[in-house]
């Protein structure tokens, strides 16, 4: 492949949305209420829509006979480059919302910057996606405030989720070798540039939600290099089941 770095860079972006979309999709029919169930699965479908554009572009760059579906469905665990945050399970609604919030703030800042890329396809995808992500951010921010500043139980569960998921936030700003190569070509977003802005945004909402900002300085990373938590394998076995069991099936 001529442009391996660009290919890997695109997968890094797309895999975040694919895995988070799959996590949210698990809530289909299981949301805490009909309304939040539909809201979470709407967000899931938005993310899957974005993912298709990225994988179609990646398939074009790969230049062999792989399709968008092959790229999405037929890789092994170590070949997914999503951050660890998005693969964390839907432990309860607080975890779902906190995970979403921590990702949405990042996603919004990321897409804002991606619109300045030298790659016109990525710019087009970013322009289309940012409207959706702007709504996702609104949804998760509003819910975080409600849960944090809600009942004693909702506050306690939400604080627990914040404390547990905090360790995955710093990885959002880790850059791989493919990222760095693409940054120097003006294609990739240099995520380190909005790290301070990210934590400022997140901390402001946590404070408004009357939640404590974790002080822990211990952070996990690995997802961007394909080293995942124990949760991804189970997620992939769900995601890939149909394609693995009935190869090339369509409906």
């Amino acid at each position: 492949m001529k442009n391996k770095n660009l290919y890997n860079y695109i997968l890094g972006i797309a895999d975040n949305s694919l895995i988070l979309g799959q996590r949210l999709g698990e809530l289909t029919g299981h949301g805490p209420s009909l309304e939040t169930d539909i809201a979470c699965t709407n967000i899931s479908l938005d993310l899957f829509g974005q993912v298709r554009s990225y994988y179609q572009y990646a398939a074009k760059i790969a230049g062999d006979d792989r399709t968008e579906d092959d790229i999405a469905m037929l890789r092994k665990e170590r070949e997914y480059f999503n951050v660890l945050l998005v693969e964390q399970p839907n432990t309860n609604f607080a975890y779902t919302i906190v995970r979403q919030f921590l990702f949405d703030v990042y996603h919004y800042l990321f897409l804002t910057e991606l619109q300045k890329s030298h790659d016109v396809t990525l710019v087009a995808i970013a322009k289309k996606s940012i409207k959706e992500v702007s709504y996702h951010k609104r949804f998760s921010t509003d819910w975080l405030k409600r849960l944090g500043d809600g009942t004693t139980e909702s506050k306690q569960k939400t604080q627990q989720a914040v404390n547990d998921l905090w360790t995955y936030t710093e990885e959002l700003f880790y850059t791989t070798q493919a990222d760095n190569a693409m940054i120097s070509e003006g294609i990739a977003v240099d995520v380190t540039k909005f790290k301070a802005n990210y934590y400022q945004n997140v901390n402001a909402v946590l404070t408004e939600a009357t939640l404590d900002i974790p002080e822990s300085k211990f952070f996990q990373k690995g997802g961007k290099q394909g080293i995942h938590t124990e949760h991804l394998g189970y997620l992939l076995s769900d995601l890939q089941y149909m394609q693995r069991t009935y190869p090339n099936m369509e409906w």
Binding site: S33, L34, E35, T36, I38, A39, N42, R138, D142, R146
Partner: protein, 94 residues
């Protein structure tokens, strides 16, 4: 039932120039959440350009028991319909 969120009625305008139409109801804790829920439940297939929500408790409804006195007297007064005019084809939404 006390612990449930209150019920809200949702009105959606399908495009500019048309009126808001009642399309259903949903549960939400307050008006902001009602609006977001309405967006997700009722406009995700691009059904609308504007949403109104109103708490169902604020609606005063007619009593079905009074249907006789309220509605039946109108049934035999066909002359109250503007059916005796020829409408030009260009006039829409009448």
């Amino acid at each position: 039932m006390k612990k449930n969120w209150p019920l809200w009625e949702v009105f959606v305008r399908s495009k500019n120039g048309l009126e808001h139409r009642h399309c259903g109801s949903l549960h939400a804790a307050d008006e902001d959440m009602a609006l977001e829920n309405a967006r997700d439940v009722y406009t995700r297939r691009s059904e609308g350009v504007s949403i109104w929500v109103v708490e169902s408790a604020h609606i005063k409804a007619s009593n079905p028991e009074n249907n006789g006195e309220l509605f039946e007297p109108a049934q035999d007064k066909v002359y109250r319909h503007p059916t005796f005019y020829d409408l030009p084809d260009e006039v829409k939404h009448m």
